[in-house]
C-alpha cells in the first residue's frame, strides 16, 4: 500500500516536471515554429547552475532556482537574438544551430563538472503527513512549485495582452507583425520564458534525483514525446500527456525495467503519430 501511494506521488512529481519542460519546448515551437533541441541542454545547465549557486554561493534553494531561471532566461534571449533570428524559415540550419549549442553546453558541462554526480540540496527536508499519506516535503514542494509555475504561465498566455500577442504570432506571424506586434520582442520573451521553465525544472529535478550531464537529452526526448501526444498548439493537452508519461515512467519500471518503460512510452507516442498525427488534443492538420 505504501509503495502504491509513493508510486502515485512519484508519478505526479515526474509529470509536473515533464510538463514544465514540455511547456517551454512547446512555447517556442508554437510561437516561433522552431524546434529548439537545445532546450534539454538548457534544462541541464539550469540544474547545474542551481547546484553551484547553492553549494558555492550558499543561496537558499528557492533563491537559487529564481536566479538560475533568470540567468538561463538571459541566455535564451541571447540565443534568439544572435542565433535563431537569422535562421528563421530554414529548418536545416536551425537544427544545426541548436545542435551546435548542445555541443557547446554539453562540453562545457563535462569539463567543469566532470563525471561526478551531484545533488541539489533539498528546498525543505522532512516528511509530512497529509490525509494519512506520508510524503516527503521535498516532493510536495516540487509539485506545488511546478503547478504554480504552470498555472502562472497558463494565465499569462490566456489572460494577458502579452499572451494574446504571443498567440497571434503563433497563428500567423506576418499578420501579427502587420498589426503592430513586435515579433522579435515576442520571440525573445518566448525564449526567455521557455528557458526559465527549463532551468527551474532542472533545479527541481536536481533536488529529487541526482544531476548528471546527460539528463538534458533524456528530458528533451520526454518533452518531445509529451508535445507529440498532446498535439501541437494544445497547452491543456500537455497536462494530460504529462500525467500519462509521468505515470508510465513511475509505474512501469517496477514491472518491466527502465528500458522497457521507455519502449512503452515511445511506442505509444509512435502510435499516436501514425494513427492520429494531430495528437490527442491538437488541432487538425
Amino acid at each position: 500500500m505504501e509503495i502504491f501511494t509513493q508510486t502515485i506521488v512519484n508519478g505526479i512529481v515526474l509529470a509536473s516536471i515533464y510538463i514544465l519542460v514540455a511547456l517551454g519546448f512547446a512555447l517556442i515551437f508554437s510561437v516561433m515554429q522552431i524546434l529548439n533541441f537545445a532546450h534539454g541542454s538548457i534544462y541541464m545547465v539550469g540544474a547545474y547552475v542551481c547546484y553551484y549557486l547553492v553549494s558555492s554561493f550558499g543561496l537558499p534553494t528557492w533563491a537559487a532556482l529564481l536566479v538560475s531561471g533568470g540567468i538561463l532566461a538571459l541566455f535564451g534571449v541571447f540565443l534568439e537574438r544572435f542565433g535563431f533570428r537569422y535562421l528563421e524559415k530554414d529548418f536545416n540550419r536551425t537544427l544545426m544551430f541548436s545542435l551546435a549549442v548542445i555541443v557547446f553546453l554539453q562540453t562545457a558541462a563535462d569539463i567543469t563538472v566532470g563525471a561526478y554526480v551531484k545533488r541539489v540540496p533539498s528546498i525543505i527536508r522532512g516528511l509530512t503527513t497529509i490525509g494519512g499519506i506520508t510524503l516527503s516535503k521535498e516532493r510536495l514542494v516540487t509539485c506545488v512549485v511546478a503547478v504554480c509555475l504552470l498555472l502562472l504561465v497558463t494565465f499569462l498566455i490566456r489572460k494577458t495582452v502579452l499572451g494574446r500577442q504571443m498567440r497571434a504570432v503563433a497563428q500567423d506571424r506576418d499578420a501579427a507583425a502587420l498589426q503592430g506586434i513586435n515579433v522579435h520582442r515576442i520571440a525573445a520573451i518566448a525564449f526567455g520564458l521557455s528557458s526559465v521553465l527549463a532551468a527551474v525544472a532542472g533545479g527541481l529535478m536536481g533536488s529529487i534525483i541526482a544531476l548528471n550531464t546527460y539528463m538534458g537529452s533524456a528530458m528533451l526526448l520526454r518533452a518531445v514525446t509529451l508535445v507529440i501526444i498532446a498535439g501541437m498548439g494544445s497547452v491543456g493537452g500537455l497536462f494530460v500527456s504529462g500525467l500519462i508519461i509521468g505515470f508510465i515512467d513511475a509505474v512501469l519500471p517496477i514491472f518491466i525495467g527502465g528500458a522497457g518503460s521507455e519502449v512503452v512510452a515511445l511506442g505509444f507516442a509512435m502510435l499516436i503519430l501514425l494513427v492520429r498525427p494531430r495528437g490527442l488534443f491538437g488541432q487538425a492538420i
Partner: protein, 335 residues
C-alpha cells in the same frame, strides 16, 4: 565527332581522371610510411561514416527527413554479430545479412512511416530510433543489454588466389581495403540510383507529392524504396564495422548518433552528392587533429559548425557553387 561531343568527352575524361587518381591514392595510402595503425583506424572510421551519411542523404533526397538513421546501423550490426556469435556463421555471410536485416525492418517500418510527412515523419523516426535502442538495451538475454557484446568474430584469415593469405586479425590494413571497397560500391550504387529515373521520382515527391501523384508516381512506393535503400547501406556500415571493432553496444546507435549523421550531412551540404563525404572527412579529421586538446575538441567542432551555418548555408559543398560563381566573375572581367 562533333565539337560538342568532343568537349563533353574531354570533360568526362577529366572527371574520371580525377576519380581514378583519387582512388589510386586511397589504394596506396596504407603502404605509405606515415600511415600508422591509428591513421588506418581513422580512415576506416571515415569510410564507415561515408557509407552511413551518403545513405541518409538518399533518404533525404526523397523528402524524408529521418533523424533516427543510426539505429539501422545498429540493427545491421546486431544482426550480423548475433548470427556470427550464436549460429557460428562466418562474418563474410553475416555481414551482407546484417544489411538485409536492416533493409527488411526499413521496408516494414518505412511503409507505416510513409503515412506521415514533414515534421511528423521526423518525429516518428526519432521515436523509432530511440525505442529500438531501448528495446535492444532491455533484451539482455539476446543482446547483452547495456553492456553489449564483446569478442564479435572478426573477418578471420582468408586465402585469395593470387594475393595469398589475407590476415584480418593481425593487421588493420585488410579492413581498410574492405571498407574502402564497400564505400566505393555504396557511393556508386547510390549515385546511379539518384541520377536515374528513380532519383528523379524521389526529387519529384520531395518537391510536391501532389503533383507527383497526378503524373502517376506512387508516393508510398518510392518513399519506401528510398528508405529501404538508405537503411540497407546503413546496416551494411554497421555490420562491416562491428566485425572490425569486435565490440558492440547499443549506446553507439542512440539519438545523438543519429543527429551526428545529420550534422555530417548538413555540414557537407545536402544538395551535392559528394556533400556528406566531404562533411565526414572534415568533421572526423578535426577532432583527430586537435586530439591533444581532447577535452576542448568539441568546442572547435562546434565553432566550425557555427561558421558553416552562418557563412555557408549550403554546407561545405556549397563551396563548389561559390567557386564557380567566383570563376565566372573573373572570366567575365577578362572578356
Amino acid at each position: 565527332m562533333s565539337e560538342k561531343r568532343q568537349k563533353l568527352n574531354v570533360k568526362a575524361a577529366r572527371k574520371y581522371g580525377v576519380y581514378a587518381i583519387l582512388i589510386a591514392f586511397l589504394l596506396v595510402l596504407p603502404c605509405l610510411p606515415t600511415s600508422g595503425p591509428y591513421f588506418i583506424h581513422v580512415c576506416i572510421l571515415i569510410f564507415t561514416y561515408v557509407i552511413a551519411t551518403s545513405s541518409i542523404r538518399t533518404i533525404y533526397v526523397s523528402g524524408q527527413a529521418t533523424i533516427g538513421h543510426a539505429i539501422f546501423m545498429g540493427i545491421g550490426a546486431y544482426t550480423s554479430a548475433l548470427l556470427a556469435m550464436r549460429l557460428g556463421w562466418t562474418p563474410w555471410i553475416t555481414m551482407p545479412l546484417g544489411a538485409v536485416g536492416a533493409m527488411v525492418v526499413a521496408i516494414v517500418s518505412g511503409y507505416f512511416f510513409s503515412r506521415t510527412r514533414g515534421f511528423y515523419f521526423s518525429m516518428v523516426t526519432l521515436f523509432f530510433g530511440v525505442a529500438v535502442e531501448a528495446l535492444i538495451r532491455s533484451w539482455v538475454s539476446l543482446t547483452g543489454g547495456r553492456a553489449g557484446l564483446i569478442s564479435v568474430p572478426g573477418m578471420g584469415v582468408i586465402n585469395i588466389p593470387g594475393l595469398g593469405r589475407v590476415d584480418f586479425i593481425a593487421s588493420k590494413v585488410p579492413h581498410y581495403y574492405l571498407l574502402l571497397f564497400l564505400a566505393l560500391v555504396t557511393l556508386l550504387v547510390l549515385y546511379r540510383l539518384e541520377r536515374s529515373r528513380t532519383g528523379m521520382n524521389w526529387m519529384a515527391i520531395a518537391q510536391s507529392p501532389l503533383v507527383a501523384s497526378s503524373i502517376g508516381i506512387s508516393e508510398t512506393k518510392f518513399r519506401v524504396i528510398a528508405f529501404a535503400a538508405g537503411c540497407f547501406f546503413a546496416g551494411l556500415a554497421g555490420s562491416a564495422y562491428v566485425h572490425y571493432s569486435s565490440v558492440l553496444s547499443s549506446s553507439n546507435f542512440d539519438f545523438m548518433s543519429s543527429i551526428n549523421l545529420v550534422i555530417f550531412m548538413l555540414f557537407g551540404g545536402m544538395t551535392h552528392f559528394a556533400g556528406p563525404t566531404i562533411g565526414v572527412i572534415v568533421l572526423v579529421v578535426i577532432p583527430e587533429v586537435f586530439r591533444s586538446l581532447r577535452q576542448y575538441a568539441p568546442f572547435i567542432f562546434g565553432s566550425v559548425m557555427l561558421l558553416v551555418i552562418f557563412l555557408m548555408p549550403q554546407g561545405l559543398a556549397g563551396l563548389f557553387q561559390i567557386v564557380k560563381a567566383w570563376r565566372s566573375r573573373i572570366f567575365k572581367r577578362g572578356a
